[in-house]
Symmetry: C2
Subunit: 346 residues, 2 copies
């Protein structure tokens, strides 16, 4: 636990700046007065790219590195060709800072709407691998744009990369009451990557006899997400499967407006980055309709990561109380942020 936090802030595109402002408001309210918070804002995203053609210059990357953590709003805009900002900025950060644990908790809290009938109990966390798999950007295309085009995408998986994230997931499973870990992959089709994952999962598991384990194919996992989500405790999975599953998880636990995430480098060699799972939602940018809760919950993950557990828990409690008190009357982004900041202080 540090008495000062040097925080890099990337508001980004669309609703990003709006939700980040509320995240910072709640962060300031939560921090004890003797903890010094220094923030530095980075102008990265669509505007910058249009103005300069840059996504993430090396100098910015070096400067970002010199922080305790990063708070990111959202990246992506329809005016920019698909992939340019995602690959050139968001994923570049995750890869450059070796964010191999992409942590995405899912809890169905009282007061939240779920599309599932009967409101099952949902309280699980997905540990998504963040630096390998189909996300590595290893692919290409030949004879692009012609009828003879061939395009490839290579999923790269290493024992090194899989073992460290699997180990992190076992540690998390061990520290939770139910102590259950589910590996999700597709090892009956993607046999090479799948067997690597499964073998390491089984081998590391022998060091955690107190953790119950389970394996599901990704297609079957989506079924259980809607029919029996209460069966999950901790899930560990590859980068792409984790991307898909965590959006579905968000949808069944009150919507993408509540889903927080941390891109974590557990060893601390690089700053970890915290961001809502949702995107930049350009359709509602500027309308005050964006729910900043996912960003605020990401701030809680950030504080926990930096050792400020009581403050993290206070923010989470404030969100729970706020959700339980919602009566359906519309509030602006700012009003939600104010309400949360007040609960955190009060």
């Amino acid at each position: 636990m540090s008495r000062s936090i040097r925080l890099a802030v990337i508001p980004g595109d669309g609703i990003g700046p709006e939700v980040v402002a509320q995240g910072l408001k709640v962060l300031a309210a939560a921090l004890p007065s003797d903890v010094k918070l220094e923030t530095r804002e980075y102008d990265l995203g669509a505007r910058r790219w249009h103005a300069t053609g840059e996504t993430l210059p090396d100098a910015e990357l070096a400067s970002l590195k010199d922080h305790d953590a990063i708070l990111l709003g959202a990246i992506g805009d329809p005016s920019v060709p698909s992939g340019v900002l995602e690959r050139g900025l968001l994923l570049k950060l995750r890869f450059a800072f070796d964010h191999y644990v992409n942590l995405r908790p899912s809890r169905l809290l009282p007061g939240t709407a779920t599309p599932l009938a009967g409101r099952p109990e949902i309280d699980f966390v997905v540990v998504r691998e963040g630096t390998e798999g189909p996300y590595v950007g290893n692919g290409g295309s030949l004879r692009t744009g012609t009828p003879a085009e061939v395009a490839t995408e290579v999923s790269l998986n290493t024992a090194y990369g899989v073992e460290r994230v699997v180990r992190d997931a076992y540690e998390r499973a061990r520290s939770r009451p139910r102590k259950k870990l589910t590996l999700v992959h597709k090892n009956n089709v993607l046999v090479h990557a799948g067997h690597l994952w499964k073998n390491i999962f089984d081998r590391v598991g022998r060091e955690y006899p107190e953790v119950t384990t389970d394996y599901l194919h990704v297609d079957a996992a989506t079924i259980f997400f809607v029919t029996q989500p209460e069966r999950f405790d901790v899930i560990v999975t590859d980068n792409l499967f984790g991307d898909i599953l965590t959006d579905l998880a968000a949808a069944v636990t009150g919507g993408i407006g509540l889903a927080a995430s941390g891109n974590i480098n557990p060893a601390g060699a690089f700053p970890s980055m915290f961001e809502p799972v949702h995107g930049s939602a350009p359709d509602i940018a500027g309308t005050g309709k964006a729910d900043p809760t996912a960003t605020v919950l990401s701030v809680a993950l950030l504080l926990r990561h930096l050792g400020h557990e009581p403050e993290a828990a206070r923010i989470e409690a404030a969100v729970e109380a706020d959700l339980a008190a919602r009566d359906g009357s519309p509030r602006t982004t700012d009003q939600v942020g104010d309400a949360l900041a007040e609960r955190v202080t009060g």
Copy 2:
């Protein structure tokens, strides 16, 4: 429409033989008396592999080819290493017979249970590419089993392969009342494959001005599957995304016990193959608990493919009537088959 059907039958593993028996029962009941049905059964799957080490010998493949269609139950058993039968038999068939249209309709019928609150209207069809993408089996591993292991999986996508399936999907969309086609991919991350798909989707779309189009990232698509499934009409997507989405689609439309599929070679150069989406469910094999409805609906797709539209429609109507009449009292696999056969005849 042919006056004779030469049908190859692969009952397979687990509940496969049980559900296939009911499928054949209903098929026999549905066919006009002047249509000659010849079936030939193939002993393929776990038993054969244990006995001989074979998954799909060339001679069997050649013999299967000499049919009008194939009905398959389910393939896969825990006693066989994961991937051996899936890759060596099921996927080998799909690839060898160039089943590039993997057709998976999803309708929420009266009388069926859905985990979704409020029972949205669901009536869409997924056209899953069946011969490319991450399923091609192009991958490998180096230093297998050591801490220095690297494993790859290569997704291969060709303009040839994408265009033909996209075209098929536009044709289907045009023939449906809502005339809407959604492409699902992840072109902000898998930029090479994603842009190939998107460019072809847009280009072919100019030939179908009456079809409304839409693009969704696969993660976002899973959200809409549970929050707003009524927005979908026809979906076209890659092999892996289609695998994942169709299990989720089955889950929200009454369960995997009702989901039918066709592995179709539209040109008819090879026999098409029809199978329930569910697996071999070894845990309930032999108990009489398997619901044969997905297989029976796959038989309807088979008949439609062979030009027997009235018979296909009769089977689907029988299933609808049977579902609407279900009162929760348990029936055996055989009883469901009998009830459906009776409705089809009567």
